[in-house]
């Protein structure tokens, strides 16, 4: 559980730094090796291809996101609706604070889809959301909680992207995401009572 002290862990950590400092285009195999201080061929022992290194770095991002959401939920009031709001806030805050990582995490063309693929990395998070949504609709709702949760997740994710691009501000003039977040939550979960 403690951080990997070997070359593998050092490469991943250096990649995370590089991503944060210079964006995903700087996340080169050779540059990462350079930063760690090894030759350009060294990463090949642990990551057979560039994609596998990127995938490992993205996995780190998913772990980070999960941690932030857990923390936000731990500090949130017990009402389900407020807990969904906390999760949503943590999600879009993560997207804004870790832009490069957020982009990388969802570049499915770059990430490998094999064993323990990245596409499955967001699944626990989705299950969590389904549970929270189900609590918001205690009686059997008109719609399965999975569908509502899926639509909510899509809205959340889309809003994080649009916000990061500046498109929302450009189109509506509003810079704060709060009104949109509120619109999404009340739309899917009903008015805040």
């Amino acid at each position: 559980m403690e951080p990997d002290q070997g070359l593998r862990g050092r490469l991943v950590r250096a990649g995370v730094e590089l991503l944060r400092e210079q964006g995903s285009s700087a996340l080169t195999l050779r540059e990462t090796a350079r930063r760690v201080g090894v030759s350009h061929g060294a990463p090949r022992r642990w990551f057979p291809t560039h994609l596998s290194l990127l995938s490992a770095i993205a996995r780190e991002g998913f772990a980070d996101l999960a941690g932030r959401i857990d923390a936000a939920l731990a500090a949130a009031p017990p009402q389900p609706r407020a807990r969904v709001a906390a999760l949503a806030g943590a999600y879009i805050d993560f997207a804004a604070a870790e832009r490069g990582m957020f982009e990388l995490m969802f570049r499915h063309d770059l990430l490998e889809s094999g064993y323990l693929g990245l596409r499955e990395a967001g699944l626990p998070l989705f299950r969590l959301l389904v549970g929270l949504v189900a609590q918001c609709h205690p009686e059997p709702a008109d719609r399965p909680a999975e569908v509502t949760a899926g639509a909510l997740w899509a809205a959340l994710h889309g809003m994080a992207e649009l916000r990061n691009w500046g498109s929302l501000q450009l189109a509506t003039g509003a810079s704060a995401p709060a009104p949109f977040l509120d619109a999404i939550l009340t739309a899917h979960l009903g008015a805040d009572t």
Copy 2:
């Protein structure tokens, strides 16, 4: 208005084909030149950098999307709610039919943001959506139409991406996007009456 017969237009068209056939990673400056049958330095006369060629190709995509949405709206019934549904359907259909193009269009890290930037390319579409949303809420709604339209756009876009990644199917088991689209529309615009 007729297609550009010069090298510039031929490069853009070859790029669109390449994108459709082999995905965005194949969209190389040199490969595009090769397909047109000119030397690797030729594109430089028209596109000073790789980004500018990609941007021109993405602009083609925005024009295509706008055309499809116009066609869908022309064939849609006059009720505003149905028109929003038609727009939404055209949007996610485009995302699925032109996957590579859809990805490219929103790779804001790749596209140039200068004069006539790509970030503004989606604006007319957004204005259209604002108008339709406003018609759905004739009386001054509890929320500005821009906010509702922004949230709706985010939901739409996020759903198109999640669907393209297979995440929705993976998480919920549903393959058809219709239930999610319906959930999003009724959530933001009220039940279909």
